[in-house]
């Protein structure tokens, strides 16, 4: 080994006195360093595994309770459109037909299937096997095609929600009859219908096409989906431009003084304010002062905009800060004005980060129910909202409303609505990733 210069300074630590001792010191410490690295890696992997486990538990509990909502029990009945019932005095006008007693047709079909049932109480139980909506279905069929009058046809009609729950195993025969929603003989009839093939679990179209309803078998998420869509549309259209413009101004054009510092501190604080406060603000200002309609997606969107803006501004500022100054200098050196430099060069490069921030904000807005409850989107909305001003509800609010209802069928609907909410979220995030990748440029 070459002669290493020996340091005359005896106060230096041993390792710095010559090369050989330094090398030895490094070698000694290596084992502990690698052990610490392995430990750290282990902690990281454990954290990830724990997260995955919780995620799996969450998904499993939701899906296991909710997947059955995608099928619904229908019973196929042979219906005779009896003119004697529907048009007793001969008038076949549409008003008269609309007001006829279609429930009687359903009852007649059921009696035909089970001719042995005669006692009034038993008959009432028999009629209870089919949903009350069956009569309206038949009414609609006649309204669509009055020529059906006098004919017989086989129609698939919704069963009562309790029969559906029994088929899905949520109502057990082992429960005692007093607490069970279906009596023993109803269970027997239901079994008979299923084994004969007259009753089947088919795709639950209702869930995806209808709005809320008191009858569980008729309740659907479409109203809530439309409400959420309109609300988020308003939120996106307002919060993205305002947020991006505010961030750009604060980052590129505003002078750095006390005032802008104060603004920055306030924006950071607003991002942490509980969302229900924004709901109170919306109630006080948008509904009381401006007189906007309650429960409307417009007001919901305005409230969620206020909530999302701080998130978007903070993320956008970070994205703008990350654009290298060399690009700005190059643009300015070419004779671009400040606005041209920002619009042509800085914003396109900052766009992926801004989109990410927007999606994070929107995802939070998607799942918020507290502020929407405050502005009145808690009402029982049956009609599908068609504009920004119609009363509406939102998916998370719908979940909250359904979770409170005692009927068993609403348990699977609550979970089903959560699944739809999560699907919405995944689609939104997928879109964000797509947009980000498309706009991402490497410099």
């Amino acid at each position: 080994m070459s002669e290493t210069p020996r340091s005359p300074n005896e106060r230096l630590p041993e390792a710095l006195r010559d090369h050989r001792r330094a090398a030895e010191a490094v070698a000694r410490g290596l084992k502990a360093r690698y052990r610490a690295e392995a430990r750290f890696k282990f902690y990281g992997m454990t954290a990830v595994a724990l997260g995955m486990v919780f995620l799996a538990v969450l998904f499993f509990s939701i899906v296991s309770k909710g997947w059955s909502v995608f099928r619904q029990a229908y019973v196929q009945l042979e219906v005779f459109y009896d003119p004697a019932v529907l048009a007793p005095d001969g008038t076949r006008s549409s008003e008269a037909l609309a007001q006829a007693d279609y429930a009687a047709l359903v009852k007649a079909s059921l009696r035909k299937l089970f001719p042995q049932v005669e006692a009034r109480a038993d008959l009432r139980q028999l009629y209870g096997l089919v949903s009350s909506s069956a009569a309206y279905d038949l009414q609609r069929r006649i309204a669509d095609d009055p020529a059906r009058l006098g004919t017989t046809e086989r129609v698939w009609l919704l069963t009562d929600d309790n029969v559906d729950q029994y088929y899905k195993g949520r109502i057990q025969r082992s429960e005692s009859e007093e607490t069970r929603p279906l009596s023993d003989q109803q269970l027997a009839w239901a079994d008979q219908l299923r084994s004969s093939g007259a009753a089947q679990l088919r795709f639950n179209k209702q869930f995806f096409t209808s709005g809320d309803s008191r009858e569980p078998e008729l309740a659907g998420v479409w109203g809530a989906v439309a409400g959420t869509f309109f609300t988020l549309l308003v939120t996106l259209l307002l919060s993205f431009p305002i947020g991006v413009a505010a961030a750009t101004y604060l980052e590129e054009f505003a002078k750095k003084n006390r005032m802008t510092d104060l603004i920055e501190v306030n924006i950071n604080n607003l991002a942490a304010v509980p969302s229900i406060v924004f709901g109170l603000l919306g109630l006080a200002v948008f509904i009381n002062v401006f007189g906007l309609p309650r429960s409307a997606p417009l007001v919901g969107g305005l409230v969620l905009t206020l909530m999302t803006l701080p998130t978007i501004i903070i993320a956008s500022r970070a994205a703008l800060k990350a654009v290298p100054p060399s690009i700005r200098e190059a643009a300015l050196g070419m004779g671009a004005s400040r606005i041209q430099m920002v619009a042509h060069h800085v914003l396109p490069l900052a766009l992926p980060g801004m989109l990410t921030g927007t999606i994070i904000g929107m995802a939070r807005a998607l799942g918020e129910s507290a502020p929407l409850l405050m502005i009145g989107m808690v009402a029982f909305i049956v009609d599908i909202p068609k504009s920004l001003f119609d009363p509406a509800t939102a998916l998370p609010v719908q979940v909250y409303l359904w979770s409170d209802i005692p009927e068993r069928a609403f348990v699977e609907r609550t979970s089903g609505a959560i699944i739809v909410l999560l699907a919405f979220l995944i689609v939104m995030n997928g879109l964000a990733v797509l947009l980000r990748n498309r706009f991402e440029r490497r410099w």
Binding site: S326, E329, G333
Partner: protein, 303 residues
């Protein structure tokens, strides 16, 4: 031998009575006809700072970064169709001075510029002067190549487009092609104009930056150490390019390399700690420097 050097050192180290900052200000060191500048701080400039019919002239320019006095009372002319090299040790203010000429120091909040810099007789720091217009007439090439992360075509076309120099697409194509030709890059990129400007090599990127600077047809091109991030071959190509360009533009180049200054420029200005120490014909500066500090720098005693 080392004794001789030591003697030389002690010889010169003895400060003369009217010395400031260890620099000799005796009148005998000034060339007759030089601009007589009364120094507020530091020494007077040796050599001729003026030229006939300059495109830009700076008079008594001071630049402050907060409290730091970065440029001290500098006066200098930029001549037409010639290259002036600004040399000096690190931190001497040559880049700062260069950036004053196209007001790039405006982007730095703490920077304050005093003095008069004129272009064609008009003060560029006047309130009525549009800085966007100035930068279209005075272009800049930076130390680290910084093409826009757009296509090569878009890089060159950006300037003409925002300044409205082309009336239609055909004219724009023409400008792009001409600029790339003059920058010596056309043959290498003509098949891939739509590729990203950042996909080129370092030397090509710098030539692209030069192409986009000349695309707006400026009168002055400022180059801040344009070759310091490049290998010798790329450097040589760019130096050839600078030589060709001086037929059409006035060029000011800041460089760390004295050899480069000697090869490329007609005039050289030596900066030291914010002062302009000496200016003159390049040949004379490098063979017969008049000021002690210039001589020390050139012979490698420091810097």
């Amino acid at each position: 031998m080392s004794n001789a050097v030591a003697e030389e050192r002690t010889d010169r180290a003895a400060p003369a009575p009217d010395t400031e900052a260890g620099v000799n200000v005796k009148p005998s060191h000034r060339q007759p006809g030089a601009l007589d500048l009364t120094p507020q701080s530091g020494a007077a400039t040796v050599g001729t700072v003026t030229v006939d019919n300059p495109i830009m002239s700076a008079r008594e320019v001071n630049v402050y970064y907060g409290d730091k006095h970065a440029i001290k009372n500098v006066s200098l002319d930029i001549g037409r169709n010639q290259v002036i090299a600004m040399i000096g040790p690190s931190g001497c203010g040559k880049s700062t001075f260069l950036r004053c000429l196209n007001r790039m120091n405006d982007t730095i909040e703490s920077a304050r510029v005093t003095g008069v810099i004129t272009m064609d007789g008009r003060d560029i720091y006047d309130r009525r002067q549009d800085v966007v217009q100035l930068r279209a007439r005075v272009g800049m090439v930076f130390q680290k190549p910084n093409p826009f992360p757009k296509s090569i075509y878009e890089n060159v076309a950006y300037g003409p487009r925002i300044h409205g120099l082309a009336s239609d697409r055909a004219e724009l194509d023409e400008i792009v092609q001409t600029s790339l030709h003059r920058a010596g890059l056309w043959d290498e990129v003509k098949d891939r104009l739509s590729h990203s400007g950042t996909s080129l090599s370092g030397g090509q990127q710098q030539r692209l930056c030069i192409a986009r600077t000349i695309a707006v047809n400026p009168e002055v091109i400022l180059m801040d150490e344009p070759c310091s991030a490049l290998d010798p071959i790329a450097t040589a190509r760019i130096e050839d390019l600078i030589d060709e360009l001086r037929a059409s533009y006035a060029i000011g180049i800041v460089t760390h390399s004295m050899q480069q200054a000697a090869r490329v420029s007609q005039r050289t200005a030596y900066f030291h700690l914010g002062d302009l120490i000496e200016v003159g014909e390049t040949d004379r500066i490098f063979t017969n420097p008049r000021h002690k500090l210039t001589e020390d720098y050139i012979t490698g005693r420091f810097g």
